[in-house]
């Protein structure tokens, strides 16, 4: 535990003594702040326009129109920024030779992985922590958002961000080149986003697909061709898709388990990669 914290603390220190943390946080706040401002302006315009019509006015909801799109935007910005946050973590240790220090100290590779992950998570927490000011800013106005769904949304982006960090860390362990780590992580993130679009168009059922792949044997064996579609499968792998329920203010255990397993599996694989790289 002590080792993990020492490594995490060093990581945080490095982030905040280099321009990286400030650039990443700055870009993130700029973009998410703009989206927040823009949706707030649009919301108030609509409020003004429909002020005379009580029916429409009652349909306007600050959570739906301001808070929810913010989380979606944050998710997209994370996809773009997280590779930059994680690329250095392990790749740089290897390139600079400091891996030789870490792995000749009485520290296990699991502690190293966890320390690195926590370090990056701290930067991430600062990043989304600052955005808490957005809902708080409008708290005392007429457009006060409902806090419970807002917090659920925060919980969602937190889980999603941590999943991306864990995945990014895995790519950082696989190479000693930061750019390679960043690009491969970025590509993976984009893919996990894009399959969300494919999901809606892939209407073939998994049973039918298996049946075709096995030249009909599947069907003959009575395994059935009905059931979930390929789109359902892809959709459930989409890293953005699982954010949707949180955005609505719903905490679904399926989404929590999804993000939790992405984090766990990625960290576990990272530790395995570190161990196996010693043997080469």
């Amino acid at each position: 535990m002590r080792n993990t914290l020492a490594i995490a603390a060093r990581e945080v220190r490095t982030y905040f003594t280099s321009p990286l943390a400030y650039v990443v946080i700055g870009v993130f706040l700029l973009l998410s702040g703009y989206i927040f401002w823009a949706s707030l302006v649009r919301f108030s315009e609509l409020c003004l326009r429909f002020a005379s019509n009580p029916y429409y006015a009652s349909q306007l909801n600050v959570n739906d129109m301001v808070v929810r799109p913010i989380f979606g935007t944050m998710g997209i910005i994370f996809l773009l920024l997280m590779p930059v946050v994680t690329m250095r973590l392990l790749a740089e240790e290897r390139r600079a030779g400091t891996a030789e220090l870490l792995f000749t100290c009485p520290v296990t590779s699991g502690q190293v992985v966890l320390g690195k992950f926590l370090g990056a998570a701290c930067l991430f927490l600062v990043m989304i922590g600052v955005t808490l000011t957005y809902p708080i800013l409008i708290m005392n106005s007429g457009a006060a958002p409902d806090m419970k769904p807002t917090l659920a949304g925060y919980f969602g982006v937190l889980l999603m961000g941590l999943s991306l960090l864990a995945l990014g860390l895995l790519f950082s362990a696989l190479t000693d080149n930061q750019v390679v780590a960043a690009v491969s992580a970025f590509g993976t993130f984009l893919f996990l986003w894009v399959i969300d679009w494919m999901a809606s168009s892939a209407t073939v059922t998994l049973g039918a697909l298996m049946s075709r792949l096995t030249l009909g044997l599947w069907e003959k064996a009575g395994l059935g061709i009905a059931g979930p579609t390929l789109g359902d499968l892809l959709g459930s792998l989409s890293i953005i898709g699982h954010l949707r329920d949180f955005q609505k203010g719903v905490i679904d255990s399926r989404d929590v388990v999804f993000y939790g397993s992405v984090i766990f599996v990625s960290l576990f694989l990272t530790q395995r990669v570190l161990e196996s790289r010693r043997w080469r």
Binding site: R2, A6, T14, T17, A96, T98, C105, P106
Partner: protein, 328 residues
């Protein structure tokens, strides 16, 4: 303290370390000597547990490096070939970080770091960024990092690279101060370093131990009681006449010195007086007579060459015997 038995490391088809075995008692300073690419660094990495051996075992204080790595690493200080520095950190926080992950108790961290800074002469740069330090200072920070937790076993891979002569002297005396309490293994390709700091020398070449000896033993190989004599006039019968002297074992024309002979004595005998008398009596005009000691450098090269070609250089003479038994 350290027990290395039969370690081999193979990368693909290349055998980098080939059945190396040795042991180092507590308090000894052992020098690894060898040309570049001889397998010094790999051997050290295997001892530290950074690289697992393809076969063989390493035990530090009775703990197997592969079975109980944490116990071993707790007792280990290691300065790799390139000092493992985080260039974006300041010197003191860097050392504090290392102290923390080396398992120094929280309350002692400050004192240990202070002590390491003092011992390595880093007071002036303690508040500077690692990245802006000169190579020599970076090397010293690397050394401070290796010694700050007072390890039982200190492994230094070329510790004096990049230092200026004064610093080298300081570092050498620092390393020497570790003998007795701590066990030190250092690698180098500078022979003078070995002469000044180590109790025992291990010469490694092409992944194998070419020779292990104390410094005295190595120097003795070069001594062998040979003298160079040089005459003013070329005397034709000189070689035979010298050979006939009691106490003379061999006579060779010395290739570098015109009219010079390398005369080998029988063990325990000294024929210098007789040689002088003979030369004066025959009127050869004795110009010079001096002992032919071979420098450590030459012995080293002979051993390396003998190892790689399998044939001892004829000029190696006295070293050849010792060489053969060391390789066996």
């Amino acid at each position: 303290m350290l027990e290395v038995s039969d370690i081999t490391k193979v990368y693909g088809t290349r055998t980098v370390v080939d059945r190396v075995s040795f042991s180092v008692p507590k308090g000894e300073i052992l020098g690894f000597l060898g040309p570049n690419g001889a397998g010094k660094t790999t051997t050290m990495r295997i001892i530290t547990g950074y690289v697992p051996p393809s076969s063989g075992t390493v035990k530090v204080a009775g703990f197997d490096v592969q079975e109980q790595p944490l116990e071993v690493k707790r007792r280990l200080g290691y300065l790799p070939e390139h000092p493992p520095l985080y260039s974006e950190m300041l010197v003191r926080p860097y050392l504090e970080f290392v102290a923390r992950i080396r398992g120094v108790p929280r309350r002692q961290i400050r004192a240990r770091v202070d002590r390491a800074i003092e011992r390595c002469g880093l007071q002036a740069v303690a508040g500077r960024l690692v990245a802006v330090l000169s190579k020599g200072y970076q090397q010293r920070v690397g050394l401070a990092q290796a010694i700050l937790h007072e390890p039982d076993l200190l492994i230094l891979d070329e510790p004096t690279v990049g230092l200026d002569p004064t610093q080298i002297r300081e570092i050498r005396s620092l390393i020497k101060s570790f003998s007795g309490e701590h066990t030190v293994i250092l690698s180098t390709h500078i022979l003078a370093e070995v002469t000044m700091t180590c109790h025992r020398v291990m010469i490694i070449n092409e992944g194998r131990i070419a020779a292990t000896d104390t410094l005295e033993g190595l120097t003795a190989r070069g001594g062998g009681g040979r003298v160079l004599v040089r005459f003013a006039r070329r005397a034709d019968g000189a070689e035979a006449a010298l050979h006939a002297l009691p106490g003379v074992a061999s006579v060779q024309a010395h290739e570098a010195q015109d009219g010079g002979f390398a005369v080998g004595m029988r063990p325990g005998q000294d024929a210098r007086e007789e040689i002088a008398a003979l030369a004066v009596g025959r009127g050869w005009g004795l110009l010079e007579m001096r002992p032919l000691t071979r420098s450590l450098e030459e012995i080293f090269i002979d051993i390396i060459r003998g190892e790689s070609s399998g044939v001892a250089d004829p000029a190696a003479g006295a070293a050849a015997g010792g060489n053969a038994e060391a390789t066996a």
